[in-house]
Symmetry: C2
Subunit: 267 residues, 2 copies
């Protein structure tokens, strides 16, 4: 049973994990240094714990205790009980979903482990927006993808905002970082995947055609602003496009991913 | 040629259109009352003006003047030139895209006008998130839809954030408000459209099957949290689902829309 600890001062050092949640740069450093991540909202906290992540602590206003009673019942981590005003003072925003939890990150699995048995894989190059990373993981999971690989500079799926948008998919869909950017796609090809890069390049073929009849597919997606790097475009086995109406420059990367996943899952 | 007017005080009443851009509730009232909307960033400002919206004024730091020189050249509205610090003080955030413009809203066209000649139409019930409204318009435009109809309580496509996410689609894709919520879908059916509601309901059939061979289609989408109202689910001609992996509750509405538009456009 989690020990309920009433905290009344925003300076209490036990609340350190929950400080300034809106300060993205500060949070990146703090979370990396301490190997933690934040889950927000009853549903997300529950999914994180059920997925086996170890809680360091919980923070919530009294009215949220009941909703998570079963989770707290089975937990050894302390639960800091604070007023809503204090929660807002510490985190820097109005915590309208109520419950927060700080959980331990786990070592990222090796690429081979994530790929074992996978038939449809997403590979994200430098997606910088946490909302997009979350939305892509959610779509991938919903549309039947088995795993996600992230380039070294892709945004963090365990950042609070990514988790919230992914609706828990980040806890259940296997994912890891690629150790090597330059050779990533040829390595996947050598592992038996046909790498299909989504691009607006001139030699791109419609996605349905690009994936038709393929066995193991790695769908490769680039950053929001500039798309895929030249290196990844050129080192992919195939280049594909989602056919668009005349005069439209592109789809949002999360929308493009949803369409590409749907088409690829039905190849 | 727009008159360049240097402004040095945040209290200058001429900057009233640009106040507190992050305060959603305040902006909703202010923009409705004055019949204006805000465009942000060189590309979006340019697209709004090129789409024929009349600017009331521009606001920008000196370094953004060159990029919009051609737009200002052809405009009669004043351009308020301010320091970046002053822009931040007035708007309430760091305007990293630089140029802002306040433009006149136009009277919404009648539904019949928006539907004239349309073969694929999106109908949004109560989408509350401006990012989702923008993303849906962008996907609709990119994937070949001809028009968008909004239920009376759907979020505003001309809100700054919607416009930004829509990347200009809100200026080019015809859209309007439905005057009547209750009878909206039967009215569309009477106009020759097969209304296809995206739902997780038990009698929903896969989207590909639901739209196969149809001529005029209206794809009907519900709100983020609870989906479509019972009334709209029941008054639609067909109910459709995007097939999903076991154990996943749903796709994000913007992702679902992208997939549904793609499939419907290729019916």
């Amino acid at each position: 049973m989690a020990e309920l600890v009433e905290v009344t001062s925003a300076d209490d050092p036990r609340l350190a994990d929950y400080r300034d949640l809106r300060d993205v740069e500060l949070r990146k450093h703090l979370e990396a240094e301490h190997g933690l991540f934040l889950a927000e909202g009853e549903k997300v906290v529950r999914r994180a714990v059920e997925a086996g992540f170890t809680p360091r602590s919980y923070l919530m206003a009294p009215r949220w205790l009941d909703g998570l009673a079963d989770v707290l019942e089975r937990s050894d981590a302390p639960c800091f009980v604070v007023s809503e005003a204090l929660a807002e003072e510490v985190t820097g925003f109005h915590v309208h979903r109520g419950a927060l939890a700080s959980l331990e990150r786990r070592p990222l699995p090796p690429v081979e482990e994530v790929l074992a048995g996978a038939r449809s894989v997403l590979v994200l190059e430098d997606i910088v927006d946490h909302t997009n990373v979350g939305a892509i993981l959610r779509s991938g999971a919903a549309l039947g993808f088995d795993a996600v690989l992230l380039a070294p500079r892709c945004a963090d799926p365990l950042y609070r905002r990514s988790i919230k948008v992914a609706m828990g998919a980040v806890f259940t869909l296997p994912w890891t970082r690629l150790p090597d950017w330059y050779g990533a796609l040829p390595t996947l090809s050598a592992a038996g995947f046909t790498t299909v890069a989504l691009t607006l390049g001139e030699d791109a073929v419609p996605i349905e055609q690009a994936v038709a009849g393929l066995d193991k597919v790695a769908l490769v997606l680039g950053s929001e602003g500039h798309g895929l790097s030249e290196r990844w475009q050129q080192s992919a086995d195939r280049r594909a496009i989602i056919p668009m109406a005349a005069g439209i420059d592109s789809l949002n990367v999360a929308a493009a991913t949803a369409v590409a996943c749907y088409v690829t899952a039905r190849r």
